[in-house]
């Protein structure tokens, strides 16, 4: 039914090698450095979500710094279907936030999106662009990286929208909350009214416009209708006394309230895709529960697709339908919630799950992943699996760049593959071929597994290998940790 040809939810990359189990295909790889998003020949998948509204293929983002080139995002591909919540989970330094910014083209210098395609489904836009840039169109999909910046900018609001981690710094402290939301509404209103105009022009609020507006006090950017709608939106996100609150400034809101306001602002344009970058990380757990409930409700109501980025696996479990696990700028495992949580194949995913204390069922000992997050500096990244230097199951096969494999299994929903960037998807772990403990240098913290404790179908948690001894060794010092911090700094009481 689905196969390699459709390349639909399968994330097709340059080096894709299909595992033998796949339904009768020849695993043809793309050779032209990019992939085409094929129009779907099947009408949806068995878990109920529609066509992809967003297809990201081989996205690459680099930062050009004094220390060297940092490969923040290294060939990331995923689909987001209509109405679903796709989660990207990773620790700091994994590149997840940069991925989000790259989607909406908000990456600032010294960073730049250097490769890949972002296919967005918009029949109208496709029609418009087909003449001028035929290479950027494929059926109803438009590759946003190939259209003009003006067009991309015009899509922010009506098509894409983003909410950030810390609402206090994401809102302008000198404008009232109502004004900011009304502004977002107004942009949307004008875009709707004059789509061609806003797409082709720079849509700039330029210096001239600024002077005019300052000199003529009666000319406000926002109309009364927008302001009324702003109040409506505030109510929709559960803020009591919305009319009064709209006239207040961000510092008069609590963290949770302000996050609601930010969500209101993000939804003002009725976007197709909402990108949420750690939306609840800075909030207390009871407030987080409120906000997640709100997001769920709104998302279901408006059938918005969401890309949810977080480091918290619990949030992923609560909110997401499908998940991508990121490490060192790549997606190392991708699948449904069940795939990732109950049958993880990649040792990093297994390690992550094993290192979380379980609220309901505490294990006597946690199983941390030894070592530190790798540097993303180009010259320091080896030509191998990036996780090999911390992987308990690294073998000779891991000393080359690893393509994505597909994991087959009996009870899986059709059309939603479970993909892993690890050879263990199709091979058993063989201690004979394992890399020695000091293969990556005497400071390496690896402890090669004695026997196969992993592979698909094994419960990663509480497997009680109990190999840890005294103080967990942590010799990877001096790497200076490249650019990643080891976690968000929480400003707590």
């Amino acid at each position: 039914m689905y196969g390699n040809e459709t390349g639909m939810d399968g994330d097709v990359t340059d080096d894709e090698v299909t595992s033998p189990g796949r339904a009768g295909t020849d695993g043809a790889a793309r050779t032209d450095g990019g992939t085409h998003a094929r129009t779907a020949t099947t009408a949806g998948t068995s878990d109920g979500f529609g066509e992809p509204v967003l297809k990201v293929r081989d996205l690459r983002t680099r930062f050009f710094t004094e220390e060297g080139q940092v490969n923040a995002v290294e060939g990331v591909s995923f689909d987001v279907r209509e109405g679903e919540v796709f989660g990207i989970v990773g620790e700091s330094g994994s590149g997840k936030s940069v991925t989000a910014l790259s989607l909406i083209d908000l990456v600032d210098s010294p960073g730049r999106v250097t490769g890949g395609e972002v296919w967005y489904r918009d029949a109208e836009l496709a029609g418009e662009t087909a003449d001028s840039r035929p290479g950027a169109v494929d059926g109803d999909y438009v590759d946003l990286r190939q259209v003009s910046e003006g067009v991309r900018r015009s899509l922010r609001g009506p098509a894409f929208s983003m909410i950030f981690q810390d609402p206090m710094t994401s809102m302008n402290p000198s404008l009232t909350v109502g004004e900011q939301i009304a502004e977002a509404v107004e942009v949307q209103r004008r875009a709707r009214a004059n789509p061609r105009r806003t797409r082709s022009r720079t849509q700039g609020y330029g210096l001239g416009q600024f002077f005019v507006d300052s000199l003529l006090p009666t000319r406000e950017y926002t109309s009364e209708g927008s302001e009324a709608r702003a109040i409506e939106l505030l109510e929709q996100v559960g803020i009591p006394d919305p009319a009064e609150r709209a006239d207040q400034y961000p510092h008069q809101f609590s963290g949770g309230m302000l996050q609601r306001a930010m969500i209101a602002q993000a939804l003002a344009g009725e976007p197709d895709v909402l990108v949420a970058d750690e939306p609840t990380t800075a909030l207390d757990v009871t407030i987080q529960a409120q906000i997640l409930n709100l997001l769920r409700d709104l998302q279901e109501e408006q059938d918005t697709s969401v890309v949810m980025i977080t480091h918290d696996l619990g949030v992923i479990a609560r909110m997401c339908n499908r998940v991508g696990v990121m490490y060192a700028g790549e997606i190392v495992e991708r699948g449904t919630l069940a795939d990732v949580f109950e049958e993880p194949v990649h040792p990093y995913t297994q390690g992550l799950l094993g290192s979380i204390p379980d609220l309901e069922d505490p294990a006597p000992r946690l199983q941390p992943i030894e070592g530190n997050v790798p540097s993303l500096i180009d010259s320091e990244m080896g030509d191998r699996c990036y996780f090999a230097d911390r992987c308990p199951k690294a073998m000779d096969d891991c000393l080359t760049r690893i393509p994505e494999y597909e994991v087959t299994g009996a009870d899986r929903p059709a059309g939603v593959p479970h993909q892993v960037r690890c050879v263990l998807a199709e091979r058993e772990y063989d201690p004979a071929r394992a890399l020695s403990a000091d293969y990556f240098g005497p400071d390496s913290a690896r402890e090669p597994a004695a026997a196969d404790g992993g592979g698909a179908g094994e419960d990663a948690r509480g497997s009680g290998r109990g190999r840890s001894r005294g103080a967990t060794p942590d010799r990877g010092a001096g790497a200076g940790d490249g650019h990643g911090d080891d976690g968000e700094v929480r400003t707590d009481e």
Partner: protein
């Protein structure tokens, strides 16, 4: 205290900036000039030679009308019991003996500029050091303890700031007098300079045997300028005291003095250093102004020389201008160094942002 990373930053900024190199070159030059003055000044700065008065610098010629004694047959003409004089136009030619010319009393301007550097450097360095010592102590204390101590100290600082610095300086010098501190100049006393001078063919002359430290002026400029250091130090202390490593030091039982000295100060030092270089320039300017107005205390000072040359502005412009240029160039050099330091040491935080 100076970590390898800081050194790296400094070097990097320096290599990239022509201006920074220029600044360092200027300041080093001035310092060397001040230190080795007896070796390079052709004349003692105070030695007068009326006959060569108002000689222009090399490359210039001036004319002036002077009243000159009439001389016939080698002797003075006397009529009616008086020495006859007449107005004659005289050409003043530059000579190599005075490359930068002479002033109204025939003193060599080059030598005065060289010796003037001593005053500027001494007052600049000592004045700044004293201002920094007082100001940083006050500022750190105020910022660390906050509350009433902070209020009190900062109110005192505000009062100081309310006075215009120059007026205050003049008043203080007027009250305290121009106390001088005289330190022996080893180069002269040990005869080191003399041998060198002979070799170079400099004219005979007794170089000053002492280095004069204008004590009052130093005290005064420090008193006027400590407030800037206090402000900066206080701001830094306020932000550093909230850092966890300060809490950690207290948790271990460190006394307040130790915490301030070992933790707060080293982390506050960066903007203080930058301020320091700017302050040296400002103090040099202040000293020049004081000398210009006659409240010096030093024997040779650029500011004083500018004052001396005022009356000759229209005719012998170089008498004021050259010391003025010396001040300008020195101050520019210091400012360039200040810029370099600020660029290299800011933001001064030893971590990197995340990707």
């Amino acid at each position: 205290m100076i970590s390898p990373r800081t050194l790296r930053n400094l070097r990097r900024e320096l290599s990239g900036s022509l201006l920074a190199k220029l600044g360092i070159a200027i300041v080093v030059f001035v310092i060397l000039m001040a230190v080795f003055a007896p070796f390079i000044a052709p004349y003692p700065p105070g030695s007068q030679n009326l006959e060569e008065a108002r000689t222009p610098p090399l490359g210039f010629t001036t004319t002036e009308t002077r009243e000159v004694q009439v001389i016939e047959n080698g002797s003075v003409v006397i009529e009616n019991g008086e020495i006859q004089t007449e107005n004659r136009t005289v050409y003043n030619n530059a000579t190599a003996a005075h490359p930068l010319g002479t002033d109204g009393n025939g003193r060599d301007i080059l030598s005065r500029v060289i010796y003037g550097a001593r005053t500027s450097i001494l007052v600049g360095v000592f004045g700044t050091a004293l201002a920094a010592l007082v100001g940083v102590t006050v500022g750190l204390t105020a910022g660390y303890y906050r509350g009433r101590i902070d209020d009190g100290l900062m109110r005192a600082a505000d009062v100081m700031l309310a006075f215009p610095s120059l007026v205050l300086a003049i008043a203080l010098v007027g009250v305290w007098g121009q106390a001088q501190l005289r330190l022996p100049d080893p180069f002269v006393l040990l005869g080191l300079a003399a041998g060198w001078r002979d070799a170079l063919g400099f004219p005979e002359g007794a170089m000053p045997e002492t280095v004069v430290l204008p004590g009052t002026v130093i005290l005064v400029v420090a008193l006027v300028n400590w407030v800037w250091f206090a402000r900066v130090a206080r701001g830094e202390a306020l932000s550093i005291r909230g850092e966890e490593y300060v809490k950690a030091a207290r948790a271990v039982g460190a006394s307040d003095a130790r915490v301030i000295g070992r933790h707060v100060l080293p982390n506050a030092i960066t903007p203080i250093i930058v301020l320091g270089t700017i302050q040296v320039a400002a103090i040099i300017l202040l000293e020049s102004a004081l000398s210009f107005l006659g409240f010096s205390g030093a024997n040779v000072s650029w500011g004083f020389d500018i004052a001396l040359g005022r009356q000759y502005q229209s005719t012998s412009w170089w008498i004021s201008t050259i010391p003025g240029l010396a001040i300008v160039v020195t101050v520019i050099g210091l400012n360039l160094i200040g810029d370099w330091l600020r660029d290299a040491l800011d933001p001064g935080i030893e971590g990197e942002g995340g990707v």
